[in-house]
């Protein structure tokens, strides 16, 4: 047989496969076909296309930021996004909140035997689209296939590298009494969307995950003002977790103003229905910003110029009290402590 007809036969073989099989991860021809026919058409660029063992990228500055995260969300797709969008956004955001300009992503896929090929295609499409949105490239990757029933269908790991401008150092130890605390928009959308999709798939809701890359919005804010001292995206554990962590690690007092914390009505209602506290629910498209008081308005304005930050609010401040506690001033003017949640949130009826 000619190599051309071998080639067509191989292509026909891949196209006929509706599901991922173990051989796709074997490093042999099926792997090549998976990469060549599914991955590269979507994610390909001059660096990735070379498929070298390691890829080289140029960074504008000499200080690199590096981050890695694993994504194991269930279900794989949910209103507003999927595991692919999550995998790019999460890693881009970790770089961006550290003050780095995200440049390149390394993508690790662990697929389960039996995964529907259409699901994989959709996830790859999401990865491609989100990477374009964020202005980053996937420059290297790896694929493994594990047995049926493992990996909940698909696990993704992304590592990201970014360039940190000279002289920029965002760190908790910069935080001082008087600093303002901002949030870029309504909380709890992602966690509640995923919880509903998992626990109550019969519920039709307008809730959507907020998953999105925030580097564009953050870049504008950092260009606009030098007063930002620290940022973090409130993912697992929610806003409460980040705020409590800041209080604990700086030893200062964080005071948040409950009426100012934005939350969508449908999100609040879903939280009440499931017995969850929105402050402890994950966000995947929000950033908490600590900024010098005289720069707070400029930072807020910059956030609000971005579609992802239209509903940004100043929600609190750092107080000159050395108790390491985070407190919430409630709607009725009372106060209560905010702590990191103790474990995975469970829906309650009582």
């Amino acid at each position: 047989m000619s190599s051309q007809s071998l080639q067509s036969a191989a292509v026909a073989r891949l196209d006929a496969l509706r599901h991922i099989v173990l051989a796709h991860g074997g490093g042999g021809q099926l792997t090549d076909e998976l990469i060549g026919r599914m991955v590269l058409p979507r994610l390909g660029n001059d660096v990735l296309n070379d498929l070298l063992d390691a890829s080289c990228v140029d960074l504008a500055t000499s200080r690199a930021a590096l981050t890695i995260d694993g994504y194991v969300v269930q279900p794989l797709t949910f209103p507003g996004g999927d595991i692919g969008r999550l995998a790019i956004s999460g890693t881009v955001n970790d770089l961006a909140v550290s003050g780095a300009e995200p440049v390149a992503i390394a993508l690790g896929l662990i697929l389960a035997e039996g995964l529907d090929r259409k699901v994989l295609e959709k996830v790859l499409d999401s990865i491609a689209a989100t990477a374009r949105e964020a202005g980053v490239r996937v420059v290297t990757g790896d694929t493994k296939v594990v047995g049926r029933g493992q990996a909940d269908g698909m696990y993704i790991t992304t590592a990201g590298v970014g360039a940190v401008p000279a002289g920029r150092r965002l760190h908790m130890d910069q935080i001082r009494p008087g600093d303002a605390v901002l949030i870029s928009g309504p909380i709890a959308d992602h966690g509640l969307t995923v919880m509903l999709a998992r626990q109550m798939p019969d519920v039709q809701s307008v809730l959507r995950s907020d998953v999105a890359p925030l580097n564009g919005m953050i870049r504008r804010m950092l260009d606009r003002t030098g007063g930002v001292v620290f940022m973090r995206d409130p993912t697992r554990g929610g806003l409460a977790s980040v705020a409590a962590d800041i209080a604990q690690r700086t030893g200062l007092h964080v005071l948040l103003d409950e009426p100012r914390i934005p939350i969508r009505p449908e999100t609040r209602h879903a939280a009440e229905m499931l017995g969850l506290d929105p402050l402890e629910v994950a966000n995947e498209g929000k950033v908490l910003v600590v900024v010098r008081p005289d720069a707070a308005e400029a930072a807020l304005a910059a956030l609000r110029e971005d579609p992802l930050g239209r509903e940004a609010m100043i929600i609190g401040r750092i107080e000159d009290v050395r108790d390491g506690l985070c407190e919430l001033q409630t709607v009725i003017g009372g106060r209560r402590i905010l702590q990191k949640p103790y474990g995975e949130q469970l829906p309650r009826i009582c």
């Binding site: 017995g275 709607v331 003017g333 402590i337």
Partner: protein, 374 residues
């Protein structure tokens, strides 16, 4: 949040302060319901209470008062390997004498969190080879859904569905509490959603017999504040009455249909309350006609007698005799991450709420008023 709400709640807080000042001496109000416990903390009400008013938590956390024996039965069933336990999320981490349902699940047991009792019935109907047990926990708000599930299972003639019944009735517990003479309260904040089912008239005997004011309240900040204000005013005026501040959901006689459903399926039984011991007539058991849906009978289980961990004072906490911080285990050996007693396990438990939301001793700032924001 609306300005109206803030103004109204400030008004009630002012009335509470005025009444408390006029009373002078220390007064204690007991909120019976775990959701009231948690919400009172979460809305910051504790930090706004006048110094002579104490808010005590009562035995209204159904998870907290589920006896260790009942929990041990759930876990025993889960560990059998041929049973699927369907439970509300609340029960997942409640620990019996050895482990909890979540751990059992981690070890391979089939444990599913459901939002509705009917999900368990539907599962049993769809998979006749699977033995499904639903854990029926909760007070009168949650009992009708279990009753409905049993009737549905009967209608569908299911052979593989049963309920492990741990439901409790709130009134016998309140009476037992008051009769014990160990609790000194000046009034009750009564549970709004239990009352939606049983009606506010159910609390009239408490007012009549014990001369204590009772206010039915909803669960939001404004409503709890209003409830406390009215209780304080009634104490000040020495006019203990029954007042319904939740008329939107609570009527005099409640939801008759739901009550009938309970009566059709269950009869009162003696029950053991964790921390309180045995209280006659305070529990429910399935009527004879539904015996085949009674998991205890189907699987031949009996509740083992499990002692409380040494040093645990949950019983005193849920009867309002002791504050969590007075228990030596609180915050040291007993924390939400490693709970020893039920009050710390449950997300509605007094000890957990205290641990999560309460300021460390003596450091609560005085909050005297609030500006209405523009």
């Amino acid at each position: 949040m609306s300005q109206r709400r803030i103004i109204d709640s400030q008004e009630y807080l002012r009335r509470l302060r005025d009444a408390a000042e006029a009373i002078g001496r220390r007064v204690s109000f007991m909120e019976v319901c775990g959701t009231h416990t948690v919400n009172a903390f979460r809305c910051g009400l504790h930090s706004l209470m006048p110094s002579n008013v104490r808010l005590l938590s009562g035995p209204g956390c159904p998870v907290c008062v589920t006896s260790q024996g009942d929990i041990d039965m759930m876990i025993e069933l889960a560990r059998r390997g041929d049973v699927t336990i369907c439970t509300y999320g609340d029960m997942l981490r409640v620990t019996g004498s050895g482990g909890n349902l979540e751990e059992a699940r981690g070890q391979g047991a089939e444990v599913r969190v459901v939002y509705s009792s009917l999900e368990a019935v539907r599962l049993a109907a769809a998979e006749p080879d699977r033995k499904v047990v639903f854990t029926g926990v909760g007070f009168e708000t949650t009992t009708p859904p279990t009753a409905a599930a049993v009737l549905e299972a009967e209608a569908r003639n299911l052979k593989n569905f049963s309920v492990l019944v741990s439901h409790k009735r709130i009134m016998p517990a309140m009476r037992a509490l008051l009769d014990s003479g160990q609790v000194r309260v000046d009034g009750f904040l009564c549970p709004g959603h239990v009352s939606a089912i049983i009606g506010y008239a159910a609390f009239a005997p408490v007012v009549r017999r014990y001369d204590l004011p009772c206010v039915i309240a909803g669960f939001e900040d404004l409503q709890i504040a209003a409830g406390l204000a009215r209780l304080a005013e009634m104490v000040r005026d020495r006019r203990p009455t029954l007042e319904n501040l939740y008329p939107q959901a609570v009527t005099r006689w409640g939801n008759r249909r739901a009550q009938n459903l309970i009566r059709r399926v269950f009869r009162s039984a003696d029950a053991t309350w964790r921390g309180l011991g045995a209280i006659p007539g305070s529990g429910l058991s399935l009527r004879g006609r539904f015996a085949r849906f009674d998991a205890q009978q189907v699987f031949g289980l009996s509740a083992p007698n499990s002692p409380e961990p040494p040093g645990c004072r949950c019983g005193e906490v849920i009867t309002g005799r002791v504050e969590p911080s007075e228990c030596k285990l609180f915050g040291t050996a007993c924390t939400p991450v490693r709970p020893m007693g039920p009050c710390m396990v449950s997300s509605e438990g007094t000890c957990q709420a205290w641990f999560k939301y309460h300021r460390p001793q003596g450091s609560l700032p005085a909050v005297t008023g609030v500006e209405v924001r523009a």
